[in-house]
């Protein structure tokens, strides 16, 4: 085997602390090295030409480049090698820049280290085998999980590009949190007015299959070829027959047993209900936990009044399996549980604020419902306890956010803006009312955002107090808000009629479980992790799975929409070709030696290991061995280390290569 060694100076980035000519000179003497040279910029056109010419002139079989990290230019050099006629996987990179010249000062020791790094690469390349890329077919259908604004936007974009979309939403209607909002910052346009047309478009789009009241329960397969199992929960209404007349709802005798979660528990709903009047699809759901029929076997009022016979008490959950090429996850957020006392000890509640104890201490979404024209008060400012108009209202920002001692460390990003908006809305509705805001900092980065906050302060006379609130308690029908004004350096007490807590945004409760189902990583809070914080913000680290909206981190509407469109675009790029090319770093089993213990199957994170029967000439199965599906294998190599008899090898990183690297130390 003839090996060529190419040592790059990277201008002065490498050569300032590594004596490149000396490295190249020493490598000449290594067994197998035919040609060794150093050059100022190996990645430049002349540098690549130098490599190509050397390959042809010296008839090289493999090359080693001593340069920057393989994450930078591995592809460049592999292409150069390929164009000169050698297999691109016969190229190894010794990382002389990030791992050597940049991190060490002493020329002697870093030169010695560089020599060792190159020697390791030489020993590895000697054992490299030519590999070829793997082609896998692509299913041209996209799964979007979550029917909030991000999911809606992504689904519409993909469908408008001509690809089929399956949109799964766990609630009975799409719309998400955006449908609950009253007006939106910084324009104060009505949230539902801009959202509803989108919802209708989704419903009517011929390429979108909408599955509401459904959940993803299993994801198998890999990029281009996922198999997704979706559970459709029983609505107890036949969707094909229901006309959405609402007769069942108006006649349902259960009126005050269940809180309306769309109204953030500020109102009741009947046992058969639609979440809100613009719901898509406009088909009710029967809540088994409160329905008299399900509880006692009697009633059946809805059955009697439905002239289309759409009520079906016997309906069961159904399960369907869909072939999917790519997945967009857009599961959104929920609010931090402020009064949390038991269930999840991860977050301590804010008992000192009296949420849950005092009915007029509410969270941001509850205020949205009160301010919303379609809400329980028809948009009139009435406080929940007695329906009186609050004359003095206090907003508290950062409840749960930016609080290492009992909340979460991150900033929820949208609260500064929505608090300003809510204070403004209050002032617009209650002209003689006073609005106070306790804040830590005002974070209003965004187009027209700072101006919006200034408007709240200057035009609408919202009083901003910089400081934290220590306690809220009731005294003579007023809520005493005790806090500190850190600018005045004084404690303050405000006797408010109503308090609104701008609670933190946290991931949905089932986010970690869903992440495990799909096979994507998540951070310590439960937000899904992007592949690269700057350059791959919408890709998850799992190929073929993309992220959109607040499930990745707190976001406002425009950001969620932008991210959804970006994820859709990435998905469309993926589906635009018929097959996918994959790196050939995959594991292979030596069937003769496999003992069939299937520990590899147990450890494989991707379910790539299958059972294969080995038969004798009489057709009798004499052993079962592991077989690795090349299309599914992602090449982590966990199986190779687990295999006791060492019958699995990972192409490109096989044990022989690694032993040789160790030996070259």
């Amino acid at each position: 085997m003839k090996i060529g060694v190419f040592i790059c100076h990277c201008g002065e980035n490498i050569s300032s602390t590594v004596d490149c000519p000396r490295v190249a000179k020493i490598c000449e003497s290594y067994p197998g090295v035919e040609y060794s040279v150093d050059y100022k910029y190996m990645c430049s056109d002349p540098g690549q030409n130098l490599i190509r010419e050397a390959i042809q002139l010296y008839k090289l079989d493999a090359i080693v480049i001593g340069s920057c990290s393989p994450h930078m230019h591995e592809r460049t050099f592999r292409n150069a090698a390929f164009s000169a006629g050698i297999n691109p996987f016969m190229v190894e990179i010794a990382n002389l820049r990030e791992h050597c010249s940049w991190v060490h000062d002493d020329i002697e020791s870093s030169t010695l280290k560089a020599i060792e790094l190159v020697r390791m690469a030489i020993e590895k390349v000697k054992r490299d085998k030519p590999l070829s890329k793997i082609n896998v077919p692509v299913t041209k259908r996209v799964l979007v999980i979550g029917g909030g604004i991000a999911g809606i936007q992504a689904a519409l974009d993909v469908a408008n590009a001509g690809y089929e979309v399956v949109l799964v939403e766990k609630e009975p209607s799409i719309g998400g949190h955006m449908s609950q909002l009253s007006e939106t910052f910084p324009t104060l346009d009505c949230s539902q007015c801009i959202l509803t047309p989108r919802m209708v478009e989704v419903h009517q789009h011929p390429k979108i299959k909408l599955l509401t009241y459904s959940e993803v329960v299993k994801v198998e397969g890999f990029i281009g070829n996922f198999k997704v199992t979706i559970k459709k929960k029983a609505r107890h209404i036949n969707e094909d027959l229901c006309s959405g007349c609402g007769m069942c709802i108006s006649k349902c005798p259960i009126k005050k047993k269940a809180y309306n979660s769309f109204e953030e528990d500020l109102a009741f709903r009947s046992a058969v209900y639609i979440p809100f009047s613009q719901a898509i699809p406009n088909i009710p759901v029967i809540d088994e936990t409160v329905c008299t029929y399900f509880q006692t076997g009697k009633c059946g009022m809805c059955l009697k009044v439905c002239d289309r016979g759409a009520i079906n008490f016997d309906q069961k959950d159904t399960v369907m399996v869909a072939d999917i090429g790519a997945i967009i996850v857009a599961t959104g957020y929920k609010l931090y549980d402020i009064e949390r006392k038991s269930a999840d000890l991860k977050y301590k509640g804010y008992g000192e604020y009296g949420y849950g104890k005092y009915r007029d201490v509410i969270d941001g979404l509850q205020f949205e419902r009160i301010a919303s024209a379609s809400g329980p008060t028809s948009g009139e400012m009435k406080r929940p306890s007695d329906g009186k108009e609050p004359k003095k209202i206090v907003f508290i920002q950062c409840v749960g956010s930016r609080d290492d001692s009992k909340g979460i460390s991150y900033c929820s990003k949208i609260c500064c803006m929505y608090t300003a908006k809510q204070a403004m809305l209050y002032r617009h509705k209650v002209h003689d009312g006073e609005a106070y805001v306790f804040y830590m900092d005002i974070r209003a980065g965004g187009k027209m955002y700072e101006e919006f906050v200034r408007r709240a302060i200057e035009e609408d006379k919202v009083k901003y107090i910089r400081g934290r609130v220590s306690r809220i308690y009731e005294e003579n029908g007023k809520y005493i808000v005790k806090g500190e004004d850190t600018i005045a350096g004084m404690p303050v007490e405000i006797d408010a009629d109503m308090v609104v807590l701008a609670t933190a945004m946290i991931p949905q409760d089932n986010a970690p479980a869903l992440a495990r189902t799909i096979g994507i990583p998540y951070d310590k809070y439960g937000f899904f992790n992007e592949s690269h914080p700057k350059l791959k913000p919408v890709e998850s680290t799992t190929a073929g799975v993309f992220l959109a909206g607040a499930c990745q981190s707190p976001k406002d509407i425009p950001e969620s929409v932008a991210m959804a469109s970006a994820a859709a675009c990435k998905t469309i790029i993926l589906l635009s070709s018929d097959t996918l090319e994959r790196e050939p770093v995959v594991a292979k089993v030596n069937e003769d030696l496999c003992a069939g213990c299937f520990y590899c199957q147990k450890v494989c994170p991707f379910g790539a290991v299958e059972v294969k029967d080995v038969k004798d000439i009489n057709g009798i199965v004499y052993k079962e061995v592991a077989f690795i599906n090349q299309g599914v294998c992602q090449g982590c190599g966990t199986c190779t280390a687990t295999c006791l008899s060492k019958s699995i090898e990972l192409s490109g990183f096989n044990n022989e290569e690694i032993f040789a690297e160790i030996a070259a130390l």
Binding site: G351, E352, S405, R471, Y473
Partner: protein, 300 residues
């Protein structure tokens, strides 16, 4: 095995100055209650000031060294746990441990001052943690009478649950552990607003007016929410809330006496001991459980 070890875990006892003087009854009741619950402790021999009050506002080095001296003694006397009933002592001890653990400079300096090195991780507990460790069930098991005529306001004060990064046993703003312990005696606890507010602490000497105002607010809120007794776990709080009620009457003539007990005294009553035995008669404001029992109930 471990569970047993927890229950019969031996504690080193760091009384601190108050326990030998103004809070003598806290010391008496603590010792009696602990003995009744089958837990024993040894007083740290040759213990000294914890470094609170004057030391920690004037000389940081001294206050850390004083606190660590006591921990060092405990370590040398083979104690793995210390119980510090005074909230200020507790605070000094855990703060010093924190500084020693996180600043090698302070550690070195203190070790040099004391000519010793800290090897083991001695754990410091306040009385709330102590009773949680012993187990609330243990109180219920040994209960001789149910104090169900008491409506208790649990007052934590400022130091017992703070700083929140170090006192991880309870929420710093809305603590609930004292309520749990109090309810084990059969008493009712009330929901009120001033349980972690400041009582004025050491201003008791120099600015009595501040203390009177602050303490009055605390007592009034407890009364307003229906309490008939307040319990505390800090000698300083007790001084301000109990002793200062006399001065309070001078400023606020309408003020009515309101009994303030140590948590250990409350438990002692539940375990069947009487007021005199527990030292409750040493308080400035009289308290007698029988007075609170409706006459016809016949319990007492």
């Amino acid at each position: 095995m471990n569970l047993l070890k927890e229950v019969f875990m031996k504690y080193g006892y760091f009384p601190g100055c108050s326990q030998t003087g103004s809070a003598k009854e806290y010391d008496i009741s603590l010792r009696k209650v602990i003995e009744k619950l089958g837990v024993s402790f040894d007083e740290i021999e040759d213990w000294s000031c914890c470094g609170a009050t004057s030391a920690h506002v004037t000389n940081h080095k001294l206050s850390t060294a004083l606190a660590m001296r006591n921990i060092m003694l405990a370590e040398q006397q083979g104690m793995e746990n210390i119980i510090a009933p005074c909230a200020a002592c507790y605070n000094r001890l855990i703060m010093s441990q924190f500084e020693i653990a996180n600043h090698s400079g302070i550690r070195k300096e203190t070790e040099e001052l004391l000519s010793a090195s800290f090897q083991k991780d001695v754990k410091v507990f306040n009385v709330l943690e102590l009773f949680l460790n012993i187990g609330i069930d243990k109180i219920i098991e040994n209960r001789k009478r149910e104090l169900n005529d008491l409506k208790v306001a649990c007052y934590y004060g400022c130091l017992l649950v703070r700083p929140s990064g170090l006192t991880k046993f309870d929420d710093a703003e809305q603590p609930e552990s004292m309520e749990k312990i109090a309810e084990a005696t059969g008493a009712k606890t009330i929901d009120w607003n001033y349980k972690v507010e400041c009582c004025g602490a050491a201003h008791s000497i120099a600015r009595r007016d501040i203390v009177v105002d602050l303490s009055k607010k605390i007592l009034d809120d407890a009364k307003y929410h229906g309490a008939n007794v307040m319990i505390v776990a800090c000698p300083m709080c007790h001084t301000n809330l109990d002793m200062r009620q006399r001065v309070m009457k001078r400023t606020y003539p309408e003020h009515e006496d309101f009994p303030v007990l140590y948590i250990t005294e409350l438990i002692g009553l539940a375990l069947g001991m009487d007021e005199k035995e527990l030292g409750i008669d040493l308080h400035f404001i009289d308290f007698n459980y029988k007075d609170l029992v409706p006459e016809n109930s016949g319990v007492g």
